[in-house]
């Protein structure tokens, strides 16, 4: 309700920029959360899907003039495919291969976009990406883009809710908690991890694709390690393995980032401190801490678990 009527009466473009970026960050955080929070696998180059989604959308719309729906579907499909390529050989192996190979893929795509001048524009990136069009309407005003963001975030939230409340998501958690036991119960850890990673990659592609149309500009910066750091802070501070957590994390992070701009590069130090405090004192993030407070309030006098 609040989300739906929020834009009424607000015309400040800066406000929209911040809120829509918060939405994009929420999509990215939910993407990382699915594979890191629920399945317990950490792809160190997860930002590759954000970058790849952004570049796919940018290239297809500027080179081929495809409309928004087609560019988004392509961005999601390309990310799913790259997720498959990264996961297929590495998720089967014990050890750090998955972590490292995902990072390697990120570097490869960074180098391609940086060096392939004719196709990707090199370090200058791609400008003039068209605004999203839906049903013949060009969404070039802030309110339209805002609602489009809300729809995409809602879609990802809905998919997340369906997954975590059913057999699919319980298999994810089972693997995170005890892969050997899960296996003995007929769960194939390799297949489940791969499935979760591909879905997670697709969410990342969706975030990237929308970002390209919203900013109307992409450069190799989208493959920056900053984005991984951001996703991590959002997921951990908000609360991993919850759906609300990464969204809360994304909103807080976006606001902090805007308000702390005056500190310049030092804001990264502040993020580091926030992350440290959160990990030390709220291992389950803000959402976990809040849930514990509510539980304690509801059962006064009873010593609750100290998780």
């Amino acid at each position: 309700m609040f989300v739906a009527i929020l834009p009424l009466g607000i015309t400040n473009p800066y406000f929209y920029h911040v809120v829509i970026m918060a939405g994009i960050f929420a999509m990215m955080a939910l993407s990382l959360n699915l594979i890191l929070g629920y399945v317990g696998q950490f792809p160190l180059g997860h930002q590759v899907f954000f970058g790849l989604g952004a570049y796919t959308a940018a290239l297809i719309s500027s080179h081929a003039g495809a409309n928004f729906i087609i560019t988004m579907v392509s961005a999601i499909a390309v990310c799913g495919l790259v997720g498959l390529l990264i996961g297929l050989p590495t998720l089967k192996m014990q050890g750090p291969f998955f972590v490292i190979v995902s990072l390697a893929f990120n570097e490869i795509f960074f180098l391609i976009t940086w060096n392939w001048m004719d196709f990707t524009g090199g370090p200058d990136g791609i400008t003039g990406i068209p605004y999203p069009t839906l049903l013949g309407f060009v969404l070039k005003n802030n309110v339209g883009l805002y609602y489009l963001m809300v729809i995409l975030v809602a879609l990802i939230i809905m998919i997340n809710i369906r997954i975590v409340n059913t057999r699919t998501g319980r298999a994810y958690v089972a693997i995170r908690e005890n892969a050997e036991l899960a296996e003995s119960l007929g769960i194939n850890p390799y297949r489940i991890k791969l499935q979760a990673f591909i879905i997670s990659a697709m969410f990342g592609g969706m975030a990237g694709g929308f970002y390209a149309h919203f900013e109307r500009f992409v450069s190799p910066d989208v493959f920056g390690f900053d984005y991984l750091t951001m996703m991590l802070v959002m997921v951990w501070v908000g609360g991993q393995a919850t759906i609300v957590g990464p969204i809360v994390g994304a909103v807080i992070f976006t606001l902090l980032q805007e308000y702390l701009h005056v500190f310049g590069i030092w804001r990264w130090v502040i993020f580091g401190i926030v992350l440290l405090i959160s990990v030390l004192f709220m291992p389950k993030g803000l959402v976990g801490a809040a849930a514990r407070m509510i539980r304690n309030r509801m059962t006064p006098g009873v010593a609750r678990d100290a998780d």
Partner: protein, 258 residues
């Protein structure tokens, strides 16, 4: 024969954990496996459940060679196992543990879950009902929403048995199910195992508690240093001189040790 184990050998370095082991299990039999520490009992279970691949030998399950199958494939054939150490999802509730146990029995696919199809709704309510039934069977119904990690040791052991029952097994490998249980809990477990046998489940149990094994098993196989040294009814085994020499001689350590 339901399970035929033919010439099974497994070496760890120079040590033979299993040395040309031949064991047959009849359908609906309640077989006990005993032996001193390091006799190869757990390795035997690990091979039969697919977690360890043997160096030599085959495992045939109702005519099908399952030696090279992955653990999850073996579970899907209806062969379930429990682990020696506590094996429940400690952070999850009793209900959630049980529901995960039913994973392999479900026919819902990712798409059913995403679109919340009729099949998904039907499965989700059916599996909860089944979890409640199993919890009642185990006597854990009051602990339904407790985190599994907070249960007593004995109840966690019971829960891990219940988790396998959710998969409707036809064969169960129980690795020291009574370890760490007090005598009341052990008696409760024995009555549960007898009921499971009545439900036509084939059960193979490794246990150090001799009273437990002698009480419930129809047949006992004794392993020592990877070799089968004796086989017979509980009566025969308790009179067997080889067994008395290698096993009963160190019995004092057994009951305290594990």
């Amino acid at each position: 024969m339901l399970i035929e184990v033919v010439g099974l050998s497994k070496y760890f370095g120079g040590l033979a954990a299993l040395n040309d082991v031949n064991i047959n299990v009849k359908s609906n039999e309640l077989l006990g496996i005993i032996g001193p520490n390091g006799a190869g009992k757990t390795t035997f279970f690990n091979v039969l459940s697919g977690f360890t691949k043997p160096n030599k030998g085959r495992v045939i399950y109702s005519g099908q060679d399952i030696t090279d199958l992955r653990p999850d494939r073996i579970a899907r054939l209806g062969i379930y196992r429990t682990f020696q150490r506590i094996s429940v999802f400690g952070e999850l509730t009793v209900t959630e543990n049980l529901i995960i146990g039913g994973h392999a029995k479900a026919k819902t696919k990712l798409m059913d879950d995403l679109f919340y199809t009729a099949r998904c709704r039907k499965y989700e309510s059916a599996v909860r009902e089944k979890a409640a039934d199993i919890a009642c069977f185990l006597g854990l119904e009051k602990l339904f929403s407790q985190r599994a990690g907070t249960l007593s040791y004995g109840n966690q052991k019971l829960l891990s048995l219940g988790v396998t029952l959710m998969g409707e097994p036809n064969t169960l490998f129980l690795d020291e199910p009574a370890a760490g249980m007090n005598s009341a809990e052990t008696n409760h477990l024995m009555s549960l195992i007898r009921k499971l046998k009545k439900d036509n489940i084939t059960i193979v149990v490794v246990e150090h508690d001799m009273k437990f094994i002698m009480n419930i098993c129809e047949r006992i196989v004794v392993l020592d240093f990877g070799l089968v040294i004796a086989e017979g009814t509980p009566d025969e085994i308790s009179r067997n001189e080889d067994v008395i020499r290698v096993y009963i001689g160190t019995k004092g350590h057994k009951n305290v040790g594990n």
